[in-house]
Symmetry: C3
């Protein structure tokens, strides 16, 4: 069987892992980037596209393959095109519309008894530090922090003027939780019926993570564009809570969006000084922070006696499912 | 033989390593967290407790095992209870009281010719930036930075009022060394008669490590609660000094607290712009920063051609000692 | 055959890798540090020197070996002495003078169509935030940030007064690019005729990377002395540009400094909020950031199904070249 993914995001990891599990690998890739991906020996097949419609067509030419979605799929292709993919998708495609809608996203977290930041429906209600977020996985572009309702309004005007959003309703105004970011990566296996922590990462964001290097009297407006990731581990004593969150989330998605989450997901969180975990967002697919762990993470080694990236873990799940005649339990 | 540890801190790493070395593994675990630890296949035996006294009783039911202490043991159990453990303990249990006392701790460093921050006995003597620390391994809770004797006094009043300490004598007022934190992890092997560097880490502390992401005019009081760790390596040219410190420390503990340090320890340091290493604290047991290196660290690979976490290294030392009939040289 | 290197920088990694590839290993080491290096079992041979001239003599006693240069070679020995090395050197020794001259260095980048910061020839021209750099690999000592021509002049006076430089012409005044540092490590293989990304790191600099932990009203002048490195990965979507830079750089060095770059090099860059890569410097040899990846990096695993440090990669290249009778293609 062949595993196919869209170039970018975590496609190298996904196909590297697929090859390690013995699958044939294929990449659907923008013609301009084909040369780059040809550098890597573990990609067997190249399907180059010139525009997004062609990309979907190419994906659909592989009905006997499994297509592996990642965190950039919808950003690159748009929800409409993604909904036209006929090839079996690893994971639960019914989650995509939930992921694209910030309100529905937060609702899934809240229903899971996961602590989330306070949300402000109206700029007028803002009474603390907030972060204003733009829809979709744009890598944090345009996000801004505001300290008052006045600053929120100014910022909204700015992103509207810049054309970064069309409608104020697309924005989400969240309490800015004081603490440190930690992205808890999980994998839910319907075949092994368990959740595994696959790693923890910190996003490395430009320019905000560079500003601290400037003298204090040099003022530069921070931006929050994710350009990379840094590895981390958490205190062991906060892991039980993170796992509880993960289990609750799996249960909620089974109820609200059956068959529920399948495979990788990430609870994007802040850990406060009381060691509370506040989750401000989730990803329902593989996140780019897993690219740190191509040869396994400090957590994957607790489950597997072999190097297990999330890309490989996906391929392993498909292999196990196929062996058991349960491929339909991990694809939609 | 069975290796036993107390749940939390680095217990997953310890038992994972013990299993890799072929030991039977057992965890003494708070009943409430038992479910969490049952997720991991490398734990053979669960001894669940409801209160701390019961925990000690359970440990003592395994007289033929070796108990592995870690950095949270005394914080969780208290020194009195720990002193009642009859099961052989890996390492030197006579170091525990030294570790619990900040003055004795600093004395061991000073006797080792390790550079340490200036200590102020009296808030009145403070003439530079200082950090005021609270006793015990509370993960940095309540620590504060002060720039003047006035601020020191205000801070002390605050932690007394909050009940974080009972007595001003428990506090330690240290020069705040300007530089970057580096935690040098070592392992002293009485069997191989050598010290190995097992890794370097940086603590990831909430909220202080998140504050840099805020705009400069948003003022939030920093807190220093360790919530995780980030990996790092040091310039090769500062390693000889770090090793000298480690050797001196081993020698000093042999003289002052025979049989001296056994197994893992950590020199918790700041590296200044002159590339001096100033050590502000040590841990005489495995530190949580080693959890980064479940599959080996950039330093462990220089000694071992196999993945060697500190947890596994402990188990290996016990195995080597047992084979040589020298178990009493690594346990107390 | 024997691989020889100079102690310090990345010599442990280099010789560890050489041993894994089956070479005999030798270190030329300052007498004072010999004891430190004797701790490691993978070093077969010790050539201890008392002064730099003797070091060069010792290197030259091994005409049938290959000498592996690293980022500290010229800083420790000086260009004159290095030019007297007669033992074959891995890599292109003609690049050394280019590397030692900031203007020639930047020219190689510019000729490669690599985006670089604006350079100011005259302090009078400064119209934005700049960083003023001192010549040679001094680990960032003396570097300073200035916000105006006035501050540039004051800073220059200070480093002249401190004797850190002798001549103002040795200084380089560069636009301070706002963004996050990322050091892209590459390896060009003349034998396999391909470039491999070997890793990405972030420098951990004292004291600047510690200052963010201080309360905002504590003002300390930042310094930029590299004391270590932290691992990172980049967004997959910026990798094609990084590889294009690398390919261009290989091509330019072939034309300008034949036979061009051989083996490891590093494009020391800032990633801006537009995800542009601005390269402010390069290293033409192994950088210390590769010490993070003694057992392989998230990128090396995409090329090699075995743990491949840059040290080992160098040894592998020499082995492959020797097998093909092409040792002269990788040494000069």
């Amino acid at each position: 069987m062949m595993l196919v993914t869209l170039a970018s995001h975590s496609s190298l990891q996904i196909l590297h892992g697929a090859k390690r599990e013995g699958f044939k690998t294929s990449i659907v890739v923008n013609k301009e980037r084909e040369g780059f991906y040809k550098r890597f020996g573990f990609i067997d097949d190249f399907q180059a596209y010139k525009n997004e419609d062609e990309a979907i067509e190419l994906i659909n030419r592989n009905p006997d393959s499994v297509f592996i979605p990642h965190g950039s799929l919808i950003e690159y292709m748009g929800m409409d095109r993604v909904s036209k993919i006929k090839t079996p998708i690893f994971g639960n495609r019914k989650l995509f519309p939930w992921e694209s809608n910030q309100s529905k996203k937060m609702k899934l977290l809240e229903l899971s008894n996961i602590k989330t930041p306070i949300k402000f429906e109206n700029p007028e209600d803002v009474d603390r530090i907030v972060i204003v977020k733009l829809p979709g996985a744009k890598g944090g572009r345009g996000y801004f922090i505001a300290r008052s309702k006045q600053e929120v309004k100014e910022g909204i005007k700015r992103v509207l003027d810049q054309g970064l959003v069309k409608n104020i309703d697309e924005l989400i105004i969240q309490e800015y939780v004081i603490g440190i970011p930690m992205y808890f990566q999980f994998f839910y296996s319907p075949i092994l019926k368990r959740v595994e922590m696959t790693g923890i990462d910190i996003r490395y964001e430009t320019n905000v993570d560079g500003l601290r290097r400037l003298p204090l009297d040099v003022r530069v407006e921070p931006t929050f564009v994710v350009a990379g990731n840094i590895p981390a581990v958490a205190r062991e004593s906060i892991l039980p809570k993170a796992y509880d969150y993960a289990e609750n989330f799996i249960k909620t998605t089974k109820e609200m969006v059956p068959p529920g989450i399948i495979g990788p997901f990430c609870l994007e969180s802040v850990v406060t000084e009381n060691l509370d975990i506040i989750t401000f967002e989730f990803s329902g697919r593989i996140v780019a922070g897993t690219n740190l762990y191509v040869d396994g993470s400090p957590y994957s080694w607790l489950y597997w006696d072999e190097p297990m990236s999330v890309g490989r873990r996906i391929a392993r799940e498909i292999k196990l499912a196929t062996q058991d005649g349960k491929l339909d339990e991990v694809t939609t």
